[in-house]
Symmetry: C2
Subunit: 338 residues, 2 copies
């Protein structure tokens, strides 16, 4: 049982789902504090049967908090995480600010729970596009050792927060009514379009979002020899990221063997019957906590390759659900109090 939990960024797209998940998964706690930026301070939010007033996000807010689950922009996370740690508050951080820091464990509980042992107070949750991919890769890696991954993403507007979802809807309305629209959240019109850039230019022609998929995957598997070749694309989908994944393994995996690996893995659901037009669709996976896999087939271009299609709710398993699952796993690992 946690004595006192804080949810930071409680009014954001992910923050709201973190609160839902704490309630619906019955994460045990005595006290819950909701923190957010000045703009949202004073707002009232219902969690289960109780109403909470959003408190200001200041360093002192972390006094007497056991665990903070934080979903904020990177720049906020940069200052708040040290302030929380300094006050002996364990932090689960959703931002991209700390994931590759040596002091942070980077954890997807189904994939690398061992990284929670001897953590130093800071556990980062991976980027949404990485999380669903590493869940999909894990059973294949255990069975046949993953050597190389080629991934193209089809990412939803909600990955850019509530503002992203709103802009997609407003932009779509404008295009249908043949009205002018100036995008603010996305760098170009997203409605009826595909934007091959998520994040800024990071290195060697790759974006920050793409390099997250490279580095975070290697850190989670603890294996820098796993090579990842990513292209991240924003498409006009409201919620749920989709990915085409080609994985090359050391040992050849048949389609049947791969399907069995997926089906037996916790947190994965296989929907795969092309003749019946059955495969995961973003509009059907939204609001669900699993990683969905379909279109499993042998790669035609390489001996040990396997192609599949992977969809997951980027706000849930890609963010909120994974954070709350980390909180659950931490409780088993190092009971803060009981």
């Amino acid at each position: 049982m946690y004595e006192s939990i804080a949810v930071v960024g409680a009014t954001g797209a992910v923050g709201r789902i973190i609160l839902d998940q704490i309630e619906s998964r019955k994460l045990p706690f005595r006290k819950l504090t909701l923190l957010a930026s000045a703009r949202s301070t004073g707002k009232k939010i219902q969690v289960g049967s109780q109403e909470y007033t959003v408190q200001p996000l200041v360093p002192e807010a972390f006094e007497d908090i056991d665990l903070a689950i934080c979903s904020t922009p990177d720049d906020i996370a940069k200052w708040l995480v040290p302030e929380a740690l300094k006050r002996n508050c364990t932090v689960i951080d959703e931002s991209g600010a700390w994931r590759m820091d040596d002091r942070a464990a980077l954890v997807v509980p189904e994939v690398n729970p061992e990284a929670l042992k001897n953590h130093q107070g800071l556990i980062a949750s991976p980027n949404c596009s990485t999380t669903q991919m590493v869940v999909a890769l894990k059973p294949l890696h255990d069975a046949a050792r993953v050597k190389r991954v080629i991934v193209s993403t089809y990412q939803a507007a909600s990955g850019a927060g509530l503002g992203g979802s709103r802009e997609l809807e407003e932009c779509t309305q404008a295009v249908l009514q043949k009205k002018e629209f100036t995008p603010e959240v996305f760098s170009h019109q997203l409605a009826f379009n595909a934007i091959p850039q998520i994040g800024s230019h990071k290195e060697q022609g790759y974006t920050s979002e793409e390099m997250k998929m490279v580095y975070e995957t290697q850190k989670i598997f603890g294996d820098k020899s796993i090579r990842v070749s990513p292209t991240c694309v924003r498409i006009p989908v409201t919620n749920c990221h989709s990915e085409t994944i080609l994985v090359e393994t050391e040992r050849k995996l048949s389609v049947e063997e791969a399907r069995k690996c997926f089906e037996e893995f916790p947190g994965i659901r296989v929907i795969d019957d092309l003749d019946q037009k059955l495969y995961p669709l973003p509009n059907e996976c939204t609001g669900q906590d699993e990683v969905f896999i379909g279109r499993i087939r042998e790669d035609l271009s390489c001996g040990n390759g396997l192609n599949f299609w992977c969809v997951s709710d980027n706000l849930r398993k890609g963010a909120a659900t994974n954070a709350v699952q980390i909180a659950e796993a931490l409780l088993k690992e190092t009971p803060v109090s009981s």
Copy 2:
């Protein structure tokens, strides 16, 4: 100069652009006949300064026609092509019915003009998703020999014809207004969704659209050793297909060398400056005849790999423009009359 050209399927999404292209590219002819199914017979269509009445598509219509440019469903193409050939009419066929037939040349004029020599009267234009890819691959193949291609597509509604474009718009309206919508053209709701199936289940878990990319690419390059690993996905874009392409070459190509290859190739335009957020976007490439390339970068997962993003108007270079370019090339190759 052609004595007499027929455009078959003149009222369809591609047919209309074929007529535009014949006019704007000034394909030389003396007589033009517009043919279409019974439903469209009698319709009047303006081409340049002249009005044409759509004639019924019957076998006798091909008497005294030099060249028929045909854009029809596969089942129509199956019977009409032999009827036209039998009447000594050269056929440029957009459908998927004849492309892999040994009697058909499969041609993209910039890529394999040599296939037009000694053709047997039937020239097929490749599938839209193949055409833009082989244009992009050709200069790389010439420079460094393409061995393997991994491609994920982001395909537009217009690939399913006028009905596809209409359904995307109606479906989008319905979703925004929270109304029920039953898709008819697409197998699932396309608005705010991504459908990882185009065409029917063909073989080994791949769809017919995907296998077209495999077989047509090999036929166009005359090289069955080129291995293609495709995933075809329909996304809610009105027009223009996008593709993420990872190409592995025999000899290593630097990014600079690849960019130069692309820039010097006819029919390709490079838009590639990530820092300035410049790359091809489907909503900006619509209505243009070129194949657009951006996001050119070295693959991080393999020594001789190159990643890029490729966008083209599937109704133009992917269909109508390529057909009219074949007609132009044929005229140089084997002047039907002069």
